[in-house]
C-alpha cells in the first residue's frame, strides 16, 4: 500500500515537473515565433509608412491654374502628412515641405526681438536655416497625422547621396581641395561646376557690400578629388564662398565652403513666412551675443541655379540693403526682405563692419539648394527593436537618401 502511494507521489511530482519544464520550453519557442512575426510586421509597416510619407504631397494642396501648391508653401499646418512634390510623381520630394519639418538634431534658437523659438538647421558658420517653431511641423503632429501616435515611434533622415567636401589647401594664392563621395564610393570622374563668390566690402549700391561671381568647370580624378586654384586671390584677407555642383550619370550633389575675415558681428537670417517669402535679417549679437558688438551694413541677394549651373539673380526689392545694430536700437533691430518666388535658391547676404572687415552668410530657400540634411522625429537609441528602410529620392534635382527608422511602443521585449 505504502509502495503504491510512493509510486503515485513520485509519478505525479515527476509529471508536474516535466509538464512545467516543457510548458516553459514551448512557451519560449512560441514567444520567439511571435516576436519574429511582430518584427516582420514592423519591417513591413516601416516600408509602408516610408512610402506613405514620400508618395503623397499631403493636404491641403491648392491649385493655381494647373500648378499645384503644397501645404508647406501655404503657411498652414497640414491635415494629411506627405512630402512629395505635387508637381511630380514618384519619389520626388518638395524642398519646402522638408524645410518645414522640425529639425531634431539642432539646438533651437531664441530670438528676443520676435519672441519666437526657431528650429535650427545650421551647418557651421554662415550656413543658416532657421524656421519659426510656430510654422515648423513637430513630431507629435506628424505622428498623429500618420495615425501612429502612441503605437509607433519613428525618425526620418534625409541626407544627400553625394557629399562634396571642400577644404583649404593653401590660402594665398588660394587653392581649395574638393572631394566628391557617394553613399558607398567616390564619385570618380564626376563633372564639377563651381561658383566662386567673393565679397566686395564697398562695391554695392550706396557703398554697401556686394559680391562678385566667377564660374568654371572641371573634373575630379579616380579618387573623386580635384584641386581648384584661384591665382591672384588672397584667402587670408578676403572673404569668399565656393559652391560646387558635382554631377555624374544622373547623380547630382552640392557642396560649399566659406571663409570670412570677420565673424564678430554678422547677419542671421530667420524665415518668417513661407507663403510670402518673408525673411528677417537680424544682428548676430541679438541672437548669440559675443564680444565687441558693433553696427554692420548688409546687402542681400537671392540667386537661383540655372540649368548651366550659373546663378541667376532675382530682385529682392525693399530691404535688400540696410543697416543692423545690436541691443536697443529698434529702428535697426532687424530688416525684412521678401523672396518673391517659390523656386528654390540661395539667399546670399554680404555684410561689413568696415572696408576691411566683411563676410557673407547663406540661407537655402528650399532644402536642396545647399544640400542641407533633414532629421525629423524621435531618437531611435535605446529602443528595443528598430526596423529601417531606405529609398533614393530626388529633391529638386539633388539626389538624397531617405531612411526611416521605426519602432513599436506595444511593449514586447526581445528574448535571448
Amino acid at each position: 500500500m505504502a509502495g503504491s502511494t510512493i509510486d503515485h507521489l513520485i509519478s505525479v511530482i515527476v509529471f508536474l515537473g516535466a509538464l512545467l519544464l516543457f510548458i516553459s520550453l514551448f512557451n519560449q519557442t512560441l514567444q520567439t515565433a511571435i516576436l519574429y512575426q511582430r518584427h516582420r510586421n514592423l519591417a513591413a509597416k516601416c516600408s509602408d509608412l516610408l512610402d506613405n510619407m514620400l508618395l503623397n504631397p499631403g493636404y491641403p494642396v491648392e491649385w493655381e491654374g494647373n500648378h499645384p501648391i503644397e501645404w508647406a508653401k501655404l503657411n498652414c499646418t497640414p491635415t494629411v502628412f506627405g512630402l512629395q512634390d505635387p508637381e511630380f510623381t514618384q519619389y520626388r520630394l518638395s524642398p519646402f515641405s522638408l524645410m518645414r519639418l522640425n529639425y531634431s538634431e539642432g539646438e533651437p534658437v531664441y530670438y528676443s526681438k520676435t519672441g519666437q523659438w526657431y528650429s535650427n538647421i545650421t551647418i557651421g558658420f554662415g550656413k543658416f536655416l532657421l524656421v519659426p517653431m510656430s510654422k515648423a511641423l513637430n513630431y507629435s503632429t506628424a505622428a498623429r497625422l500618420l495615425g501612429i501616435n502612441g503605437t509607433y515611434g519613428f525618425r526620418l533622415t534625409i541626407t544627400p547621396i553625394v557629399t562634396v567636401s571642400i577644404s583649404e589647401e593653401q590660402p594665398n594664392p588660394l587653392i581649395l581641395s574638393v572631394k566628391v563621395m557617394g553613399a558607398g564610393f567616390p564619385l570618380a570622374h564626376a563633372s564639377l561646376s563651381y561658383c566662386f563668390i567673393t565679397v566686395d566690402p564697398t562695391g554695392g549700391e550706396q557703398a554697401y557690400p556686394s559680391y562678385r561671381t566667377n564660374y568654371d568647370t572641371t573634373l575630379v580624378d579616380d579618387e573623386g578629388s580635384a584641386l581648384l586654384s584661384f591665382s591672384d586671390f588672397d584667402g587670408t584677407s578676403e572673404s569668399y564662398v565656393l559652391i560646387v555642383y558635382a554631377h555624374l550619370g544622373g547623380l547630382m550633389g552640392v557642396g560649399y565652403h566659406e571663409h570670412v575675415n570677420y565673424k564678430e558681428n554678422y547677419v542671421v537670417p530667420f524665415i518668417s513666412d513661407f507663403e510670402t517669402g518673408l525673411v528677417l535679417l537680424a544682428h548676430s549679437w541679438d541672437v548669440h551675443q559675443g564680444a565687441n558688438p558693433a553696427e554692420i551694413t548688409y546687402n542681400a541677394t537671392f540667386v537661383m541655379l540655372t540649368e548651366d549651373f550659373e546663378l541667376r539673380e532675382i530682385p529682392l526689392g525693399v530691404g535688400k540693403i540696410g543697416k543692423l545694430n545690436y541691443g536697443q536700437d529698434p529702428q535697426h533691430a532687424y530688416k525684412n526682405v521678401t523672396i518673391s518666388t517659390h523656386n528654390p535658391g540661395i539667399l546670399v547676404v554680404t555684410y561689413r563692419k568696415s572696408a576691411q572687415e566683411c563676410g557673407v552668410v547663406l540661407m537655402p530657400w528650399g532644402i536642396n539648394s545647399l544640400a542641407f540634411p533633414v532629421v525629423f522625429g524621435d531618437s531611435p537609441f535605446s529602443k528595443e527593436w528598430v526596423a529601417t528602410d531606405i529609398r533614393q529620392v530626388i529633391v529638386n534635382d539633388i539626389a538624397y537618401q531617405a531612411t526611416l527608422a521605426l519602432w513599436s511602443y506595444e511593449g514586447y521585449q526581445v528574448v535571448g
Binding site: I10, A183, L251, D308, D389, I390, R391, A399
Partner: protein, 446 residues
Amino acid sequence: MMRTVEILLVVIIITAAFIIASIYAVLPLPRRVSPLNLRRIALTTLQTLDMNHDLSEIVFKPENDSAWGQLQIALAACLPPNIVYNFTVYEVQSGEGQTELYRLIKTVSNAESLGIASDASSYLVASSNVTFRVIPEKIGERGGGGTLYILNCSDANGWWVTGYTAQSLAADLYNLLSPYFKTTIMVQNTAQLGQILNGSSLEGETLQNAVVINTFGESVPIPQEYCQGYERQNEGYYPNVTYPYTRYCYTLGQKTRIHNWTWVSIVGYPLYYVSNTAVFWNQQNEWGIYGMQKTYQGGVNAFLQGLDNKAFQYNETKITDNPGVVYLSSQAAYYCNYYGIYPSPYQTSTRALSTSILNYYHLNVSLYLFNQVNNYIPGAVYCHIFQNETRTTGKLLALGLTRTPDVRLTALGLLSYYKPRLYRSEYTAVGTARLVVLQLGQVGGI
C-alpha cells in the same frame, strides 16, 4: 512503480515532441526578420539615375562607350556599401517573327553572387531619338477654368502684327494651344467680346479663370457699346483727356480681376490702341490703319489700375523701356524641350515693362519667359494678389518684344505657366525601348 515508468514514458514522448518541433521551427536569420525592401531601393535608384534622362541615354550607347563606366560609378556611389548589384539591359523586341520578347544587351555587376537573398526592379526606358505620340493634359481638368478665348474679331484691326493678320495669328494659336485647353473659343467679333466682358458665356463655357489672348498686337478690339455715345460709354470712354479710350483698358483690367482671367498681350506695348472698324471707320492711328483710336501709354496703366481695383486715374506715364536683345529664361528653355516648341532663344525687346509696377499694383512674377534686364522685364506672367491675401485675382502675360510677333512665344509662355502634363501613349516602336533590370543583394552580417 508502474506509474513512474508510465510518467517517464510520457516525459520521453514530450521530449521527443519538443525536439521534433524545435527541428522544424527554425528561427530565421535576423536579416529576414527585418529586411530592407530591396525592390523599392532598386526602383528608386533607377529613377534617381534617370532623373535628367541620363540613364535613358546611357543604355542606348554602344557597349564600349565610357558612359557605361560612369553608370557603374554612379550606381556604386548611390547604393550603400553593403549592397551589391547586378544591372542588366534588355532590348524590347516587338517586330514580327521575333521569337523572344527581350534580347540581352549588357550586364554589369560588382559581385560574383548577390548573397542569400536578392530582389529586383525593372524600368522601361525610351530612346531620346524617338518621338512618341503624346496626349496632353487639358488645362482646367483640375482646379477649374480651362477656357481659352482667342480674339479673332472680324470688325477690328491689329497693329504691330505686320506680315500677319490678327485672324491668321488666331488660327495659328488655335492649332498650337487648343489641345491643351478644355474649351477653345474663337471670339469672332467685338459683339461676342462684349458678351464675355458682360459675364455671359458664348457656348456655355466656363468664364471664370479663362485665358484671353489678344491677337491684335498693340491694339485691342473694343465693342461698340463701350464707345462714345453708346450705352456703356461710361466704362469705355473718359472725356476731357487726350486719349479718352484708356477708360476701356481700365474696364478690361477690372474684368480680368473679377473673372480671374489671364490676359495675354502677344507683342509690343500692351493696349496702345483700341479698334472697331464700324465705329472708328474714318479714324486712323497716324500710320494709315483705319478703325483705330490711340490710348497711348496710358492704356496699360489703366488696365493695371483696374486689375488692382484702384480708382481710374488718367495716367500717360511710360512704364516700358528698350533693353535690346533678351534671352529666354532657363525655365522657358526647359519647357521648349518639354512641349517641343522652339522659338529663337534670343529676341529683341523694345517694350519691356518696368519692375516698378510689381509693388505698386501688387503683382508677382510667376514666370519669367525672358531673363530680366536691369529693372525691366521683357516677358513674364504677372499674377495679381491683393496685399494680405493669397488668392490670385487676375493675371497678365505681357511680351514686350518688337514686331513682328512670334505666337510660339505666347504658347510657350502659357504652357510654361500652366504646365499641362504630356502623357506618352506609345512605346512600341522597334528598337526604341529597353528594359533595365537592377537586382540587389545584401552582403556581410547574418
